[in-house]
């Protein structure tokens, strides 16, 4: 195990039925690092994130978080260890529609961490303020725009004080004019030193904010390096072809 890495993946594999989605992923992420994962759809990017927080338990390989083995046989620590340290934001927001914005953010700290309602709500209000939604505390999700909902979802994940934040194509379901407000929040988060794994199609974001870019295809890491290396000077044919298609737009 590489010393010092916050999160370490070794030979992680995952299949769904006959479909081999991850075919041995090795990845080490340091504290405070922002890693952007690029790749065509079906390349296994989302599955990779879902394996890291054990929404999908990997079939093979090891995952080590903060020096604790969270997947890969003997000595695994419990799922709670992972879920309290890893936050995830989904493409479809998945806000709780029967709860207001502030309740969405405060719910998990109350039920999981046993925080009092007052304390949880105070912190939730602060987090919503931080993502620019101080005036929407009591609104229900159906009355918020997609961009606002996604920012609530980010605040909700942050409320559990995660060590790592996973972003699964969080702007893909948004209308174009709403994408920036979400990316701005993520950029600030990165500047504050949050460790982030960002699956995205936003090349500009990957280039500016990413410390490292990983290009995946067909369940393997094809190429990784600085944004400049991977996006501007890709070495592999598959990376070049993908970037050619994406950057053409």
């Amino acid at each position: 195990m590489a010393g010092g890495a916050l999160l370490q993946l070794e030979g992680v594999e995952k299949s769904f039925g006959g479909l081999h989605v991850l075919r041995g992923i090795d990845l080490a992420i340091d504290k405070g690092e922002v890693v952007c994962v690029l790749g065509p759809s079906g390349s296994g990017k989302s599955t990779l994130l879902r394996c890291i927080n054990l929404l999908e338990p990997p079939d093979a390989g090891r995952i080590v978080l903060e020096g604790q083995q969270i997947s890969g046989g003997a000595g695994e620590v419990g799922i709670d260890f992972v879920r309290r340290r890893v936050g995830i934001v989904f493409q479809q927001f998945n806000l709780f529609p029967h709860r207001s914005a502030i309740e969405n953010v405060a719910l998990a700290p109350q039920t999981v961490l046993g925080r009092g309602e007052g304390e949880a709500r105070t912190k939730a209000a602060a987090l919503l303020n931080r993502v620019g939604l101080a005036d929407k505390l009591e609104e229900y999700p159906e009355r918020l725009s997609g961009g606002q909902q996604q920012r609530v979802a980010i605040a909700r994940a942050l409320a559990m004080d995660p060590e790592v934040m996973l972003f699964d194509e969080v702007t893909s379901a948004l209308d174009p004019e709403l994408i920036k407000e979400v990316l701005d929040v993520m950029r600030e988060l990165a500047e504050e030193g949050m460790t982030m794994i960002v699956v995205t199609h936003e090349m500009g974001f990957a280039r500016e904010v990413g410390d490292r870019v990983v290009f995946m295809d067909e369940g393997v890491v094809v190429e990784e390096g600085t944004p400049k290396q991977v996006i501007d000077e890709p070495k592999h044919e598959r990376t070049k072809r993908f970037l050619g298609l994406v950057l053409e737009r």
Partner: protein, 296 residues
Amino acid sequence: MPEILAEIPLLTDLWNSTIGSLWDSTDTFRTQYFDFNILSDNDYENAKGVLEGFRETIKLSIIGGFLALAWGLVLAVLRQLPGKALAPVRGLTIAYIDAFRGIPLLLVLLLVSGSLGALAAEDVIPKDIGIPRWFGQPDPFWYGIIALTVTYGAYMAEVYRAGIEAVPQGQMEAARSLGMSHRQAMSRVILPQAVRKVIPPLLNDFIALMKDTSLVSVIGFVEVVQFGRDVQSETFNSTALSFGALLFLLVTIPLARLVDRLIARQQRRVGRSGGGGTAEPAPAGAAGTGQTGGPV
């Protein structure tokens, strides 16, 4: 001829020359189903009896309905328990639901009423359970409550299940990702949404349950139908039963309208949240369209 008409000569003539003879010839027919005297005789003895019977019907409906709602929710939650270790619990729950959805309520009622007392007599089960007379109610009342709960619990479990399955999978994933246990996610996130979706079909089941309380008369409990039947066999007149039917309608029709309204409101809501930049799939309307799986 109606008495009011008889006092006005002109109308009497008009009446006699038009539908008068038809009206008179159907007199026997009309009084068979509605003869006010049957209700009013002996200081309204029968009217009071019907009302008292209906009070028993309402008691059976509310207590049975409440218990079936709760029991159905328990069954639905048991059916959704996660993990391999709990597969037997899921299997047993499914077997229970299948069994009691497939057996006539009348049969369950006879099984319960005919066996519990006998078992208590043989000291296999305590007397208080075998011959229940809780809260001053007679044992046929409680046999009825047990049979209604056991059977309608199974129907309602299926309704809850439809509601749980209509909550998008992402809700459970989001809750679990935030560190909630399955139990916390169910109680705080999934069930509150699921139950809201299925209030209309649950109400439909409640209407069906209320009508089915009349079966409890078979084991010697006098509710509205049994009382009407007693009057009918005494007088050869059906007025007491008609009056009972009217009382049912006074409750069931407003309830049915309420169900319609709730469904309409849900559909408006689905239509609204379909726009507004949400990519969430519209909550499956199926749960709200009155498919109750209950008896028709």
